[in-house]
C-alpha cells in the first residue's frame, strides 16, 4: 500500500471479492482486499465491507493478554484477562486491554499492518508495575504500565494516545529502528506521538481540525497546571507549573535544544517533526490518518534508516507524498510547506517551496 495506487478500474470489484475470499495465498487475498478498500475509499466510502458481512479482511487476529504485577517488578506477572475474556473488575486491566485492541485495529484497518511486528505478534501488557511508578513503556516485547504517583501522574492506562505512543515504539523497532539519540531519537519519539494521536483521532472519528493534537490529555494529575503532556499543534504550551516547570518543547529548528540529557533531548525536539505532521494534516484536511498518516507510515516502514535526521524525514515524506499522490500534488506541497515552516528546509524541500 506504499507503492503507487493500482489501476483499480481494470479489475472489476466482483472479481476482487472472489480473490479476497478464495485466493490460495494470504498475500493474494490481502492484495485483493486492499484494492477493494482503496477503490471504495476513492468512491467516498470508509469501508468496502459494510454490505458484505461474510467477507473477512485478511487474517488479522488480536491476541491480547493482560497481566498484573501487583505492585511488584516481576514480569509479566499474573495473567488477569486473555483475548475475548470478560472484563476484569480491575479497570486498569480493562483500559490496557481496550487500548491494545484499539491500536491493533487502527494499524490493521488503516495500513493493513498485522500487529506491532506486522506478523500477528501477541500483545501483552502488565499493569500495576512497581509502586507509584510514574511511567509506561514498551520493553521490546510487551507493554508495562505504572499506576502513576497520584501527584504529578495519574494511572498510565488512562490515555489511548499514550498507549498508542508506547506501542508505536514497537512498530519503529520492527521497521526503521530509529536510534534513540539526538535527531533520529526525536524522530522516533515523534512517530510515536503521530500514531498515538492518530489512534485516538480514529477512535473518536475526528478530522484534523476537530482534533486537539494534545498528547496525554488526562495523564497529569489535577494539581498540575497543564492541559496535557505535549502539544503537537502548539509545542511548548502543554504545561507551566511551579513544581515541574514549563513545557520546554521548541516549535522550530531555530529553537532546537542541544543538551546531553534525555538522549540528546529526544522528548524535547520531537515537537519539530510533530508540528510538521500537524501542519501537513491540517493543510490536507479530512481525517489525518488517511493521507498525512499514510505518507508518514510509508516513510517509517519503507524509507527511513536507523540514523535518519529531520532532513532525511522531510525528504522521505516529500518523496512518499509524490509516489502516493503525484509530484506537485496538493498533498506533496503540504508536506514541503510544513517542513519549511518548522525550519527543516534544505535541498529538496527548499526547491519545492521556492517553485
Amino acid at each position: 500500500m506504499c507503492e503507487h495506487v493500482p489501476l483499480l478500474c481494470v479489475i472489476p470489484p466482483h472479481i476482487l471479492k472472489q480473490i479476497a475470499q478464495r485466493a490460495r495465498t494470504e498475500e493474494h487475498r490481502a492484495w485483493a482486499a486492499r484494492t477493494l478498500e482503496l477503490s471504495a475509499q476513492m468512491r467516498g466510502r470508509r469501508t468496502a465491507f459494510a454490505f458484505l458481512p461474510q467477507l473477512e479482511l485478511s487474517t488479522g487476529t488480536k491476541r491480547r493478554a493482560i497481566y498484573t504485577c501487583d505492585h511488584g517488578t516481576n514480569l509479566p506477572g499474573t495473567l488477569v484477562r486473555g483475548e475475548s475474556e470478560n472484563p476484569s473488575s480491575d479497570d486498569s486491566v480493562n483500559r490496557a486491554y481496550d487500548g491494545l485492541g484499539d491500536t491493533y485495529d487502527f494499524y490493521m484497518s488503516t495500513y493493513q499492518r498485522n500487529s506491532i511486528d506486522g506478523r500477528g505478534m501477541r500483545l501483552n501488557a502488565s499493569v500495576h508495575f512497581d509502586q507509584n511508578y510514574d511511567n509506561a513503556f514498551w520493553d521490546g516485547r510487551q507493554m508495562i504500565f505504572g499506576d502513576g504517583d497520584g501527584q504529578i501522574f495519574n494511572d498510565f492506562t488512562c490515555c489511548l494516545d499514550v498507549i498508542g505512543h508506547e506501542l508505536t515504539h514497537g512498530v519503529t523497532q520492527f521497521t526503521a529502528k530509529l536510534e534513540y539519540q539526538d535527531q533520529s531519537g526525536a524522530l522516533n519519539e515523534s512517530m510515536s506521538d503521530v500514531f498515538g494521536s492518530l489512534i485516538k483521532q480514529y477512535k473518536l472519528g475526528q478530522t484534523a481540525d476537530q482534533a486537539n493534537w494534545l498528547i496525554g490529555e488526562g495523564l497529569l494529575a489535577p494539581g498540575v497546571n497543564s492541559t496535557a503532556l505535549r502539544s503537537m499543534k502548539a509545542p511548548g504550551t502543554a504545561y507551566d507549573d511551579p513544581v515541574i516547570g514549563k513545557d520546554p518543547q521548541p516549535s522550530d529548528m531555530q529553537n532546537y535544544v542541544n543538551i546531553l540529557e534525555d538522549n540528546g533531548g529526544v522528548h524535547i525536539n520531537s515537537s519539530i517533526p510533530n508540528r510538521a505532521f500537524y501542519l501537513t494534516a491540517a493543510a490536507i484536511g479530512g481525517f489525518a490518518w488517511e493521507k498525512a498518516g499514510r505518507i508518514w507510515y510509508c516513510a517509517l516502514t519503507d524509507k527511513l534508516h536507523h540514523n535518519a535526521d529531520f532532513s532525511d524525514a522531510a525528504r522521505a515524506t516529500y518523496e512518499t507524498a509524490g509516489t502516493l499522490y503525484g509530484n506537485g500534488s496538493a498533498e506533496q506541497t503540504a508536506v514541503a510547506r510544513a517542513w519549511d515552516t518548522v525550519g527543516v528546509s534544505r535541498g529538496t524541500i527548499r526547491a519545492a517551496v521556492a517553485a
Binding site: N135, W138, E189, G245, P248, E261, D262, I268
Partner: protein, 106 residues
C-alpha cells in the same frame, strides 16, 4: 559523604527528578542508612555505565558519590538495576524533587 542523584528519560523533562544530599547533615539513622546502601551496592566497584538495550521512555539514573576523598559516578538504565543498587535508587528517589527543567533559558 555527598550524593548527587539524577533521573532522566521517562516522559522527558517532566519526569526529571534530582537530589543533592549531604549525608553528614542528615539525622544519624538516615545517614547510617545511606552509608549502608552505598556499601551494600559496592558502589565504588561498579562500572561507570550499566545499561543493557536502551528502551524508549524508560528511566536512566545517574548517581555520583563522594566519600573519603574518592568520587565515583554510575549511570544505569532501569533494567540494569537489581538488589542493593535498586534499593539505593529507591532511597534516593524518596529524596528527589522534580526539575529543574533542562534546556537554554528563553
Amino acid at each position: 559523604m555527598k550524593i548527587e542523584f539524577l533521573r532522566t528519560g521517562g516522559q522527558g523533562p517532566i519526569s526529571r527528578r534530582s537530589a543533592s544530599i549531604d549525608v553528614s547533615a542528615l539525622p544519624d539513622a538516615e545517614a547510617r542508612e545511606a552509608e549502608q546502601l552505598v556499601d551494600s551496592a559496592r558502589f565504588f566497584e561498579l562500572p561507570e555505565k550499566l545499561q543493557s538495550t536502551p528502551m524508549p521512555d524508560s528511566f536512566t539514573y545517574r548517581i555520583t558519590v563522594e566519600q573519603d576523598g574518592r568520587t565515583h559516578t554510575v549511570e544505569a538504565g532501569q533494567s540494569a538495576l537489581s538488589g542493593p543498587l535498586q534499593e539505593l535508587v529507591g532511597w534516593l528517589m524518596s529524596k528527589a524533587q522534580p526539575g529543574p527543567q533542562p534546556g537554554p533559558p528563553r
